[in-house]
Each structure stands twice: as structure tokens, then as C-alpha cells.
């Protein structure tokens, strides 16, 4: 690719059939230390792993196609949009910024995320939001089993259904589910959805750009019965 010529363009186009993943990620990382293009378009990702991970810059990255594992992992400040599906560990441990996937996401989307907003337009597979630590996740479709396992803080919004063992061993995260819940995990219970929660849910749906009626959602969270070990609860584990 004629990189020098492209530098002048409004949108930096990178073709992963011509440029290595390493070179692309290095250029994106360099934005943390030196100014560069603020808008990027990546074509031919071909399911590459670790694509656009570790960015620390206020930059827009659009990816045309499917991505592999850990896309936008540990993202800070950047907006990453995937026009396709995403593999395991999408936006894992994201710190801030926005990651949007038009299609579906595989397992562990948003795992351990500490901030920012992750939006999955389609479905997310098992363990969506596992050990989430402050990230907000909005899923337009459904999520698989063990979603929000050991979820610490942040919100998981699921417009569709949730699989088995939702919120198992959950801490302080809030779960808003629009559809059915196959089963709740240990120490996860349904909770009253008060006005403050409705406002939070509406704001998250708005931020995600997902048109869903907040009134049909139910809220789930921790019963806080397993926070300190008690032998009387041994049967719950």
C-alpha cells in the first residue's frame, strides 16, 4: 500500500492482505505517543487475532469483515467498529472507549473489562461479561451460558435471552435481560427494577444505538449471600 499517499487522506486505509498485523498494531500503538490519522479503515481482516488490541488513543477504527480472538483487547479511548463477527475475548479487559460489533461475538466477550462500552449487535456466546469489572455491555440478541460469571461491577444488557447459570457467583454487576433466562447461577437473583435502573437501562440502550423497549426488561444481581464463606452455604457451591 502507498502509505505515504494515504497519510494525507481523511481515512487511513489499511489492507491486511498487504500490511502485516504487527505493522498495523504498531502504528495504532504509536498514536499514544505521536499524532497520526484519527480515522482508520481496515479491510481484509480475514479473522485475524489480536487485531486493534492495546490502542491508547482517541481514534476511530472501522474493520470491514470478521475478526478473530481478542479484537480491541485492553482498548483505551478508541472507538473500534467491526462490520462482521468477532471471535473469543472481544474487547477483553477494555479500559475505556467504545467497541461495536455488528454481527455476533464468540465466547467471553468483554471479559474482565474495566470500563467503556461494548456493543454486540447480534448474539454473544457463553461467558459474555465474565469477571467484568466496570465495563458496560449491551447485546442486541441473546447470550450463552455462564454469562456474567463472577461479574464484579458494570452493566450487562441483553435484549434477547440469557443461557443457563446467568450471573453465577456475581458480585455487584447489574444485569438487565429483555427476554427469558434459562436459569440463574449461584447467588444471582431477580431484583426490583426501580426508576433509577430504568433510567440507566435506557441510557445504555441509547448509547448502544439499539432500539429496544426498556419496559420489558428485568433486573438481576447478587443476593450477596456468598460474599463471606459460611459453611451453611456449602450446598450452593
Amino acid at each position: 500500500m502507498a502509505v505515504a499517499a494515504r497519510e494525507q487522506a481523511a481515512v487511513e486505509l489499511v489492507d491486511l492482505e498487504q500490511t502485516s498485523l504487527r505493522d498495523l498494531n504498531q502504528r495504532l500503538h504509536d498514536l499514544a505517543r505521536a499524532p497520526g490519522p484519527s480515522a482508520w479503515r481496515i479491510v481484509n481482516p480475514s479473522g485475524a487475532h489480536a487485531l486493534a488490541c492495546g490502542i491508547d488513543a482517541e481514534v476511530e477504527v472501522e474493520i470491514d469483515g470478521h475478526v478473530g480472538y481478542y479484537c480491541a483487547g485492553m482498548n483505551k479511548r478508541a472507538t473500534v467498529r467491526v462490520h462482521g463477527n468477532a471471535g473469543t475475548g472481544l474487547a477483553e479487559n477494555m479500559m475505556s472507549g467504545l467497541v461495536v460489533v455488528d454481527g455476533n461475538a464468540s465466547q467471553s466477550a468483554g471479559a474482565t473489562g474495566r470500563g467503556g462500552l461494548l456493543v454486540v449487535g447480534g448474539d454473544a456466546a457463553a461467558r459474555c461479561g465474565i469477571s467484568m469489572k466496570g465495563i458496560d455491555i449491551v447485546v442486541g440478541g441473546s447470550v450463552g451460558h455462564m454469562s456474567a460469571f463472577m461479574a464484579q461491577t458494570g452493566c450487562l444488557v441483553v435484549c434477547g435471552d440469557a443461557g443457563e447459570a446467568l450471573g453465577d457467583s456475581i458480585y455487584e454487576a447489574r444485569l438487565y435481560i429483555g427476554g427469558s433466562v434459562a436459569s440463574l447461577g449461584a447467588d444471582c437473583v431477580e431484583k426490583e427494577l426501580r426508576d433509577e435502573h430504568a433510567a440507566q437501562l435506557s441510557a445504555l440502550l441509547d448509547a448502544a444505538g439499539i432500539d429496544a423497549d426498556p419496559s420489558g426488561f428485568r433486573r438481576y444481581g447478587s443476593a450477596r449471600q456468598l460474599y463471606n464463606f459460611r459453611i451453611d452455604n456449602a450446598g450452593a457451591y
Binding site: 498485523l21 504487527r22 498494531n25 504498531q26 500503538h29 487475532h49 489480536a50 488490541c53 492495546g54 491508547d56 478473530g68 480472538y69 481478542y70 483487547g73 485492553m74 483505551k76 473469543t88 475475548g89 477483553e92 479487559n93 479500559m95 465466547q107 467471553s108 471479559a111 474482565t112 474495566r114 461467558r127 465474565i130 469477571s131 469489572k133 466496570g134 460469571f149 463472577m150 464484579q152 461491577t153 457467583s169 458480585y171 455487584e172 460474599y227 463471606n228 464463606f229 459460611r230 459453611i231
Partner: protein, 469 residues
Amino acid sequence: MATGERVGVRPVGSDPGPQYAGVRPHGSDPTKTERPWNLRESYLFDRTVIAEIQRASREGIYDIRGFGAKRRLPHFDDLLFLGASISRYPLEGYRERCATDVVLGTRFAKNPLELKIPVTIAGMSFGALSAPAKEALGRGASEVGTSTTTGDGGMTDEEREHSTTLVYQVLPSRYGMNPDDLRRADAIEVVVGQGAKPGGGGMLLGHKISDRVAEMRDLPKGIDQRSASRHPDWTGPDDLEIKIGELREITDWEKPIFVKVGASRTYYDVQLAVKAGADAIVVDGMQGGTAATQDVFIEHVGIPTLPATRLAVDALQELGVHRQVQLIVSGGIRGGADVAKALALGADAVSIGTAALVALGDNSPELDGEYRELGSAAGFYDDYQAGRDPAGISTQEEALAARFDPVLGGRRIANYLRVLTLETQTLARACGKSHVHNLEPEDLVALTVEAAAMARVPLAGTDWIPGSA
């Protein structure tokens, strides 16, 4: 149960006598206890076993404790160096150089770790340990040119400041994980397991959760913080390879990436870690310490460091990557003899945890009275989970932590590491080696059939290696 109360622990202030499993009156020797000859103690149901059954029936929960395995296990003590003789030429002890430097992470990383000694400080979390204790580890290690390691709680600014070379652990819990700390680390260690509890997660009990610890881990204060036993975003060796690839991309391929496993299926784990792209592999034997684990787990899961070392070296040699993928062995390293024997079996470096805490002042006889008030005694204290350590090491109570002098602690660590190094050099020179890495299995014999079989060196006085033709 009150927040500050330990599960499975005897009441604070109670007599540490025979009602508590594992603690004998300080200084006593059960084999010499004065008692009539007609009283015969059961080998199977000795007083420790009886006390534990009684404790379990009283409290209804397993015992959680710190430290490592306390049972007798085959170990480096069961090996001896042959020393130089007519066929081998020794080096002059006080004159001729015996180098100790080691480079870790030469396989893929742009910036491998260059350490002056082959002894590093193992991962111990801020949370399990107090801030001044972590600072002391950094001070001491930096003084002698080796590394420290974070732990299951993230990286603190203090430990980064005081550790010239700092290894940042990526654990299943991902407490405090962030890309900035990955980038300011000198190496990354993906922790799959630890020797005290291969296959187990962790637990920091609620009463050790200070405001700062809670904030670092994104959890409320005062609740038990479980550390997951599985990583949240990868499963199996194929995923691990992709995960390591992500960590390399985030850090621009600069940092060495270690993979740490608790010793169990060591041969296979090491080969899979190599296949997954590790620069170095840490194998932690079952004697490795912990801050809080069930006693039954510590004593009954995993294999000892001795056979694990041999299996790890076998795995690396079979793949043709021995010395290219460095091996770091931990679990029960106490003195230079242990270091030298691990190196002779093929390790590139060792790590110390429990020994480092002891060097800092843990289980100090001067604190015996205070240990007894806690129901323990100097030399027996293992309640790292309780957070009431009078030495100010395994605690988050400010008043206790303030008792610990990080400058003095750092000096002790440096002294101790120097002694380990001097002892290792002494043994290496005796075997005629100008570098400690030149020690080799042929310098060793075994005292027991078990150790000969596990280490695959001959039983002393014979040429017999059990299992060999």
C-alpha cells in the same frame, strides 16, 4: 460469622497446644516427649491427625492456611554433589570466577531479562502481603540484580518503583489488570497454576481487604475475594497460544512472556507451554507456598519440585529448546544447595517465596510471644490468610504493616540472596564449573531410591538409576 473471623481457624488467643492440628508446643520434640512407656501413640492417628479431626468436627469447615506443604517429601536434600576429584578439576574457591548471570526470555522478546543471579522472587500479591513487605522484596532484589514478581492483585506504584526488574502476572482473576502495567513491566507471567494448589483458584478473605486492596480489585471492601481457577478468555493450549500472541501485540513484542504452571502433569504442561509460544516456563512444585489455601489441597495435590524439575527438563530437551526456552523452578528452595541442585538438573533459575518471607522476618523467634497469642508459635506460623501477622508481612492492617521496616527488610533479602548465590557458587566451583549453569546431572547422586528415580541420577555408590536399563 464475623467478618474478621477466619474460616477454619482456631479462636484467636486460644492455647496453641494439642487441640490445634500441626502445632506442637514451641521447642518440643514429639519423639522425646516424657510419657510412660505403656502409652503408645498411633502412627496412623497421631496427635496431629486427632487434633485435626477434632477441629473439623468442632468447626465444620476445612482448614485454610498459608505456607506450603509441611509433609516430608522427596526433595533436593535427597541429592548430593560428587565434587571434583582426579577425573574432574575444581576451581579455586576464593579466586577463580564462577559466573551467575542468567538471561530469561531470549526466544521471542526484544528485551529479555538480564539478571545477575539465578534466584528470583516469586509472585506474591499486594493484598496477601503488606505494601512495605512488597517494597522490601523490591529493594532487596534490585540491590543484587534480580527480579520480583507482582501477584494476584495487580501492580502497585511502590513495587514498580522499588523493583528494577519487575515481572507482571496475568492471572485468572485479572484483578487490577491493565495495559499500562503490562507495558511498564519488564516481563509478563501468564499464571496457569501454582504448586500449592494446581487446579485451584485463590481466596483473599474479607478481613484482609483494605480500602486500597478493594479499589485495586474493583470489589467491595470486606467481602471474600475469590480468584478464579480458570482464565476467563482462553481454554486449552491452542487458545493460550493466541492469548500470548495478544499480549505480545499489546506490548509490541518487547516483553518476555513466561508461563507458570503448578507441578502436576509437568512434562505435558511444559511441552504445551512451549508450543503456545512461551519465552520461559515457571514450574512450581507442591512445596511452593500460598497465602490462603485449604490444607487438604496444599498437602495432597501436585508433585514435588524434584521430579517436576526433571520432567520439565525432559520436555524441553525433547523439543530441542532446553536453554532456549528458559526454565525457572520454584517450590521449597531454601538454600544454595537447593539452587545448585535445581540448576544441575537443568533449570536456568529458581524462584523463592516462602524463604523470602522468612528472610524478611516471618516466623521470627523474637515474635514468639505474639504468635502464641494468635494460637501459633514462631517456627509454626502459617496463618497468612488471617491478616494478623505480628511481623507486618502478611497483613493489610496499617498498624501491623507499620511495624515492618522496608529498608531493613530489603537489606535482609539482599543478604539472603547473596548467601544463596555464594553457596551456589561454592558448590559449582567444587564441581569445577566456571558458571553455575555448567552444573549438570552428572555432578549429582541420590541418597534414596525414590530421589534417584525422580531425578534420574544414580543412587549413591552405584550406577543404578531406577527405571533405566
